[in-house]
Symmetry: none
Subunit: 418 residues, 2 copies
């Protein structure tokens, strides 16, 4: 079966010029690829008659499905509908269902119904109208030479509900879709090239129908396996088989799968092991607590933290012995372990974690250059600490230290599982 | 003078399939348009030899400047460099400066230097190498028929610093750019439509050669004035004049200009007033401390913080009276003011700030629904507090509360200036 190709076109100067971030095309490509279509291209163009016409013409000559978003509003800079009307040789006619719906919206919100609003119910006579429950601009679908074009509004929640309510069935009815399946394996604490070295034999023997992608971000690398085929069960089982031979090679770096995030995984581990945690942060400045508490329901295991930024607070509030700081320096194994132990006792939690380092740009010395960071974790019996040698960049150092600190929780919990 | 057109091409299946959000092309289009170029198109394509070659070929036939990001990593799915090498008829050679730089990075971080890492220093012999201070993949620039192509790595902070350090001068040297000047006025604590109402008379009388854009983000709105012309001095003076008549209308919302960020502005204010600060966070969970400490040199004024997430820590460590929490609830004016006062005394700082609220999704009640947040600031004589009624979304509530808490520092320091 040949692949069904899709091109997503975002229309609008505010996206083109980067005034707002385009989240629609991310959402659309994710959801369209889940249906088994191949995402061939995404484009962003100006809300300009000529640009839209040229792009539509090129796209429906090349791709099975073209999806447009944006340019359907009531103001003068919204030209998509008129463009498509002309391109597909249609006449604009009122769609009564849409007109009734718009009138109802205006009545409910006590707003005046102006001629401009009425125009929103005009649609090209040869299109299939896609009814927009949450807004005034209907979606439209056109067919030319077996190629399908769908035009959706740009307001994200209108676009999403129109896609779910109308487009999925439309796409399924127009195309014979192949089966596609993705599996994402998430690693932390190893760089892309080392990972690639470790798994190179496995990668070279990978089933030809399965594609591997490395998706790196700061401190983490995702491995994505994608399989195509005719039978979902077979594709899934092929991917599962490859996954089973991959995991043992990289086990200690794998923290999760698919939509897992490190902070959620650690949270689930803490709940499972019935432990709570407190945090003493120096160089990470609150970022670790912020990550842990970004998870809904984190109050179950996160009790609190102290940002002991100055030495006085390390000494007076966290009760790190002054002579330890004087002897070893604030950025040292001795002090960071003491911080982890003290916050645990102070905040009465099963685990305490801590960071102390030189985030930069200032504060570095020859022995302890910018990027030198110590992290630690302690429970009532054990302490685990680690020195990190990071970069020159403050933001990168804070992020990498935070990820390492979350990761050391994971490692500690696995090592000392009760 | 004719416009210089630019096409930004993002390479990578992870962006194409929506596994990650494309923030690079937003940033690039914003920054390239600031130089006076016209953004004609943005595209996202697969990291596939044929796709890249076709797109590069089409783009340099049509647009003055093509910028590629992505596909420069060390693994097998990164094919951009080889593609460009072949397309521009080059040979790959080692760039010694890059090789030295990569070796240094590996030495500093105590990592093994593998053959794959060495390959990162290979560059096409006819390209101009753009040195990447923060990563191992260099950028490259090529010229064909007076059209310029620049290839940048996909890692956002590497791409951004390469653009700032190398590309701006390169672009300015290759093209005769129109004179363009921007002035950004940054506001906080007022929505786009209210702002637009306040300044509508001013906006209607704006000099015809100057364009106004509203650039909203969570909790903040930027107003960008853009002037085009032939003489930079004249353009700047026209914009200055408009700015002078705008500011008095919106003075209390303006926190900065151009590249100012709220956390930096507040930091400068604290240094100027010779004050230091400590933070007691509940619902913001460390995010406010994290923002304050993201600023280099923040240890001058930020002494520390306590994340008093659980009531026990509010009572036992922060010493908020238990009966206050029982009588008014943790999310109340009384408790948040007490938190701000107590952290100030405990951490011996001139100012204390605090947050307490229901970030959601759980924990809401009829009287205090999700999104109810109290924030406060205290010095030795005064307390200022504010109730916020925010949204249903945890992440949005944390961000908006944090921005409001930074803003209340600014307001307090202006109000009680000594």
């Amino acid at each position: 079966m040949s692949e069904i190709s899709c091109h997503i076109i975002t229309i609008g100067d505010e996206i083109l010029y980067g005034h707002i971030l385009d989240t629609n095309s991310k959402w659309l490509s994710e959801n369209i690829s889940l249906l088994g279509l191949k995402i061939s291209k995404k484009s962003t163009i100006s809300d300009n008659y000529k640009e839209i016409t040229t792009s539509v013409n090129d796209s429906i000559a090349k791709y099975n499905l073209t999806i447009l978003t944006g340019g359907l509003g009531p103001t003068n800079d919204d030209v998509t509908k008129n463009c498509l009307n002309e391109y597909f040789g249609c006449e604009l006619v009122y769609d009564n269902k849409t007109l009734d719906h718009i009138k109802k919206i205006f009545k409910k919100r006590n707003l005046d119904f102006t001629p401009k609003n009425k125009q929103q119910a005009l649609v090209p006579d040869k299109c299939q109208v896609l009814h927009n429950k949450y807004g005034t601009a209907p979606g439209m679908s056109f067919i030319k030479n077996k190629m399908v074009l769908i035009s959706l509004p740009g307001v994200p929640f209108e676009m999403k509900s129109l896609f779910n309510d109308e487009c999925i069935n439309l796409i399924k009815s127009k195309f014979k879709l192949p089966v596609i399946h993705h599996r994402i394996i998430k690693t932390v604490g190893i760089g892309e090239s080392w990972l690639s070295d470790i798994i190179s034999d496995w990668e070279n023997n990978l089933d030809k129908s399965i594609k591997l992608a490395y998706l790196p971000s700061l401190g983490r690398v995702k491995l994505r396996l994608t399989g195509h085929g005719k039978d979902l069960k077979k594709v899934k089982s092929k991917i599962k088989k490859e996954e089973m031979s991959l995991i043992p090679l990289i086990k200690k770096y794998v923290f999760g799968f698919d939509s897992d995030e490190l902070e959620n995984v650690v949270g689930k581990q803490l709940i499972k092991e019935n432990k709570d945690i407190s945090v003493a942060e120096s160089c990470t400045g609150g970022n670790v607590s912020s990550l842990l508490t970004s998870v809904p329901g984190s109050s179950k295991y996160f009790k609190g933290g102290m940002i002991a930024y100055s030495n006085e607070i390390k000494i007076n509030s966290l009760e790190v012995p002054k002579d330890k700081i004087e002897k070893f320096g604030a950025v040292s194994r001795e002090v960071v372990e003491e911080m982890a132990k003290k916050i645990r006792i102070k905040f009465k939690t099963s685990l305490g974690i801590a960071s102390s380092g030189i985030a930069g740009p200032g504060g570095g010395t020859k022995d302890k250059p910018v990027g030198t960071v110590w992290i630690a974790i302690a429970d009532k019996n054990n302490v685990l600490s680690k020195k990190l040698s990071l970069t020159d960049r403050r933001d990168v150092n804070i992020t990498l230290s935070s990820i390492s600190l979350l990761n050391i929780i994971r490692i500690f919990l696995e090592k000392y599982r009760e």
